[in-house]
Symmetry: C2
């Protein structure tokens, strides 16, 4: 890779986020993103398959790391708790809180990005359910724990971003799980 | 509307489903769907904004009816139960079990259709949470009940379609709720 291209991926992500904020996702082109980042569109497509993926570049890496953590969790007798704890304990701050908060807002404001976000979530739910099953959790329980765990974490993540990273994800998760428990009818099985 | 166009919407839906089954969603064009239904592409676009929407035509009507039911539910002290009961009690059999089962399979097999399905689910979750809030349920509880209720119902719906409509949705829902209760840690609030 030529020297001048070093840092291109990072610059492309920053440029895309800025442009999505300024003009909206729909009115931003790949050419404009590449221009602002000072690279060619060819370079853009070396890093990202399309315009949406710029904001989800780390999603696949995150998913792989999270799945590995589930596979490595010593005790999976409470599969829903495994999912929420794994998500809450993950280091999401990689690109910095400012970028995370802006990214969160941009996704919420654009149907095209929200769509991609929903697919990534679904991919993660499928991967988590698969990981739980590989740990011996029964299929229906694994799927429901994965799906519901992600829904719980969505609440937690939104609150955490809102707090600028100051709130404790573990405490937010406990609160969300208590809320969930209050919603589940008292006819609960002793399982 | 000219006489020969009567039934076009229904014919377009059947034609689309057949073509998606035969060739896959990606390799089917709007022109081909219109041809098989014996109408022009102009007529296609009078009914549907795009190729995906053919399989989701009833989604908006369903959502409005479901929201109305939530608004009319006498007792919302168990909001998660309101969501799952409303979904389980709804008459999904409109187009007939055969079409529902084929539609379910086609969506599961195509990323493009699954994407649209995820968006429709998200729209429904937002609308349900809003309806619960209008009924006085606190915002966080309303959102979590809506999201988790839909996840529970996804399990129920898949099992119901699998059973060719023979299984009782209420019984399947009870089983799914019992499973959910078994997943929620015993530190439950008395709420």
């Amino acid at each position: 890779m030529p020297r001048w291209e070093q840092g291109s991926e990072e610059r492309l992500r920053t440029a895309a986020l800025e442009l999505f904020e300024e003009r909206g996702f729909d009115d931003t082109s790949v050419v404009e993103i590449a221009d602002r980042a000072g690279v060619t569109t060819r370079t853009f497509f070396r890093y990202f398959p399309d315009k949406r993926e710029v904001l989800f570049a780390e999603s696949d890496r995150h998913r792989a790391a999270l799945v590995q953590q589930i596979l490595d969790t010593p005790d999976v007798t409470q599969p829903l708790r495994v999912i929420t704890s794994t998500l809450a304990g993950f280091d999401w701050t990689g690109p910095g809180m400012d970028l995370l908060r802006r990214r969160h807002a941009v996704i919420a404001a654009s149907p095209g990005l929200l769509e991609r976000d929903l697919i990534k979530r679904d991919d993660i739910a499928v991967a988590f359910a698969d990981a739980l099953q590989r740990r011996g959790v029964e299929a229906d329980a694994a799927r429901l724990a994965a799906r519901v765990g992600i829904q719980v974490f969505l609440t937690v993540y939104a609150q955490w971003v809102e707090s600028d990273g100051h709130a404790d994800p573990a405490a937010l998760t406990d609160a969300a799980m208590t809320l969930l428990a209050s919603l589940v009818p008292a006819t609960r099985a002793t399982g």
